[in-house]
């Protein structure tokens, strides 16, 4: 039998776990100001996570999905995108969203159950958080088709978890994007766990990146805790898409250092030694180590950064707590152009019997 096609899955890492370059770094990484901006965003995400969890634990926020451990993937993707591109987030990629202009107050508002938080003042055309697993992939493929029809040089970026790639919708979207060479990048955030299902139990494939191959979409892995590596492969994929060369599947290998959400207790199913090992690879110290080695970072700057982030977070929390309270009828808005009768009846009842004032 002769071989008719051959495939390979590449793996990219530009900063190792100790913050040492594995080779020559791309142009953006020569700009200390740009790297510092990326580091600052990762620290902000980490500190915001802690605050949001405390708000939930004190009854001041609903269920929250933390991002701790995955900041490099999120910030690297966000920094590679252009403002006119469109993001299709899942529910914990705050680093990408903040980079694109979503505010901390909007994030808190959404997790309070107030959907007006998804009405982003910044990236007006980015899609809102979407909890149904895997739904982002076909949304992004559809948007990319619209860009193609309109002749706009824009890209659609879909997030999906490694668990989400088991959904049929993911394969359908990859197939469509591959068949039409759509300007789409599918970012698979492989954080090791789909709630309590380990990645090892999720697929029989060696990598999640190869799930693009059958759709004619090249796939690659990147160290998702290496923000420089993530941004580099993401920039290359976006350039390819913008040049009409079609979609890419990127599998970012990272780790969910937190619980799945504030309603989860990962210690019940996740081995403690695995978690401890993952902390040794986490993204923040490695970029800090690189910056320090280049003479761009020290303890004083770290303390100043943390104080500035704390102040920014405090201001966002105050903004969240003092936002106008939505009227009861607001939850029925923006769902249908013409609400069906059952929904109209519910809205009528809800506004007739508002919750008691306290």
């Amino acid at each position: 039998m002769k071989t008719v096609a051959q495939f390979a899955i590449g793996y990219e890492q530009l900063l190792d776990a100790g913050g040492r370059p594995t080779g020559e770094l791309p142009a953006f990484a020569q700009d200390a100001g740009e790297l510092t901006r990326m580091y600052r965003m990762m620290v902000l995400c980490r500190m915001f996570d802690a605050k949001a969890i405390n708000l939930q634990r004190t009854g001041q926020l609903g269920t929250y999905a933390p991002c701790t451990g995955q900041e490099a993937t999120h910030v690297g993707v966000g920094a590679a995108m252009r403002p006119e591109d469109v993001l299709f987030p899942v529910y914990r990629e705050y680093g990408t969203q903040l980079w694109r202009g979503v505010t901390l107050t909007e994030i808190l508002t959404y997790w309070a159950g107030d959907e007006t938080g998804t009405n982003f003042a910044g990236p007006r055309q980015d899609f809102p958080w979407c909890v149904p697993i895997g739904s982002q992939a076909p949304h992004a493929a559809g948007a990319a088709m619209a860009f193609r029809i309109r002749g706009e040089p824009r890209c659609a970026v879909a997030y999906i978890g490694e668990g989400g790639t088991s959904q049929g919708a993911f394969y359908e979207a990859v197939n469509l994007a591959g068949a039409r060479r759509l300007p789409t990048v599918f970012v698979i955030v492989n954080n090791g766990w789909a709630i309590s299902v380990p990645a090892s139990a999720q697929t029989g494939a060696e990598t999640f990146a190869q799930k693009g191959i059958a759709g004619g979409v090249p796939g690659m892995q990147v160290d998702g805790n290496d923000v420089i590596g993530v941004r580099a492969v993401m920039e290359a994929a976006l350039a390819r898409a913008r040049a009409g060369e079609g979609p890419t599947v990127i599998e970012a290998l990272t780790y969910r250092l937190s619980d799945h959400t504030t309603a989860d207790d990962a210690s019940r199913y996740r081995p403690a030694d695995e978690l401890a090992a993952a902390w040794q690879r986490e993204p923040l110290p490695r970029l800090r180590a690189y910056l320090a080695a280049q003479g761009h970072w020290d303890d004083t700057r770290e303390q100043q950064l943390r104080a500035a982030c704390a102040a920014e977070i405090d201001a966002a929390v105050k903004g969240y707590q003092s936002r106008p309270r939505p009227a009861v009828g607001a939850m029925f808005e923006h769902l249908f152009a013409h609400p069906p009768a059952a929904l109209a009846e519910q809205r009528e009842q809800a506004t007739r019997y508002p919750p008691p004032a306290h």
């Binding site: 004190t58 001041q60 269920t63 159950g113 504030t262 989860d264 210690s267």
Partner: protein, 399 residues
């Protein structure tokens, strides 16, 4: 004063159990400082301080179950009350309801901690979950007569069911006794929400009812031959050990979902102890390998610990067989309830003097009435009666 109520720590959780406090009354705390660990149905979580302040009261001890929305901590603000959290809490913008908790600020000198919840608001409309509202409509129960046990007096399904039960028993009374006026529905008294041991009993009995196929068998042990000073409880423990040696299948756990049975070598007997707070079941370890004096000492320790609620959790779990010595008070036979995963329970009634046939003669002998319940899903009738025969044989030994 600012009171901090237990928020919903998951998604729609009704309660949480206090694991441990990290702070004490009088402590200064700063916002986000860990205050306590609680265990919910989903997770053990650390609850941080919602604000800076001095702790004036802690509501609840480790092991206590706190309902979502019930008081947890009382603070005295260290900052001026017009700032920060106090202002937010008072602000109409502050979210409340199912998703986001709130921190009411009370100027009242009276701690409002245990004010009775009320479900009335907005022109008399009762707050009830939709399913409870629909159930009440179907059962023709006026929601205004139902006292709500949920957050802020919210009427739940259980409240409606309890109200229906009260109404039904009232109807029966009225039907059977024409001498008595129909009970006044407003005189039903407040529904007492079960807590602690009584709540645990309700849960384990419901579990038993829903899972166990229970079967009971009764007999008597003739103990006329006993020496005067025999210790009934210790003799019963020894007899259970003899029964388990004859039929090890009764000293076992059964898991219905996996159809798995686990037979134990050691016999750990849970003893039902009646306390004012409810039923407590401390466990005597390895009953088969202790002499009478050691067993009596252990029974005394566990009973004393049960009465003053000082027993550690390790003394209260993992029994493999249960003994209910209810006859100390009254009662001859019973159908004691098998509590899963255990598969059997022995009940002992009041030691009595009975007229018995000895050969062709009539005699009066002291006898202990015995009631054995077993889970017929994994214990056969033959095993049960052979167990009971071995118990009786051991009990009837003079010493």
């Amino acid at each position: 004063m600012t009171r901090f109520n237990l928020p919903d720590l998951g998604e729609g959780l009704q309660e949480a159990e206090i694991v441990r406090w990290h702070v004490a009354v009088g402590d200064h705390v700063t916002v986000d400082q860990p205050m306590l660990a609680v265990e919910t149905a989903k997770a053990v979580v650390e609850v941080p301080a919602p604000r800076d302040g001095v702790i004036r009261a802690l509501y609840g001890n480790p092991g206590d179950t706190i309902a979502t929305g019930a008081p947890l901590v009382e603070f005295e603000a260290t900052a001026a009350p017009a700032t920060d959290e106090a202002a937010h809490a008072a602000s109409p913008a502050h979210a409340e309801g199912g998703v986001v908790g709130r921190m009411p600020v009370s100027d009242s000198a009276v701690p409002a901690a245990f004010a009775a919840p009320t479900a009335r608001s907005h022109g008399g409309r009762v707050r009830a979950v939709p399913a409870a509202r629909e159930l009440a409509r179907r059962l023709d129960i006026d929601l205004a007569t139902v006292s709500g046990s949920g957050r802020d007096g919210l009427v739940t399904l259980d409240d409606v069911l309890a109200a229906q039960k009260n109404a039904a028993s009232g109807t029966r009374l009225a039907a059977t006794s024409s001498m008595r006026p129909a009970p006044d529905p407003n005189d039903a008294g407040e529904i007492e929400v079960l807590r602690s041991l009584r709540r645990a009993m309700a849960q384990s009995m419901s579990l038993a009812r829903d899972n166990v196929m229970e079967c009971s068998v009764f007999d008597d042990a003739d103990v006329e031959g006993w020496h005067q000073a025999s210790d009934v409880t210790v003799r019963l423990l020894r007899a259970i050990a003899a029964g388990c040696r004859a039929e090890p299948g009764l000293n076992a756990w059964f898991d219905g979902s996996s159809q798995g049975r686990r037979i134990f070598h050691h016999i750990q007997v849970g003893i039902a102890v009646d306390t004012p707070d409810g039923l407590l079941v401390p466990v005597i370890r390895d009953v088969g390998s202790h002499d009478a004096a050691a067993l009596r000492a252990e029974v005394n320790r566990l009973k004393a610990g049960a009465r003053d609620r000082s027993l550690p959790a390790t003394d209260l779990r993992d029994f493999t067989f249960m003994l209910s010595n209810f006859g100390v008070l009254a009662g001859r036979y019973a159908t004691p309830v098998v509590v899963p995963p255990a598969v059997a329970i022995l009940g002992a009634g009041r030691l009595s003097r009975d007229v018995v046939a000895i050969g062709d003669q009539i005699a009066v002998h002291r006898r202990i009435p015995l009631s054995l319940s077993f889970d017929h899903r994994c214990v056969t009738g033959g095993e049960a009666v052979r167990f009971l025969a071995a118990v009786i044989q051991d009990l009837q030994l003079p010493s």
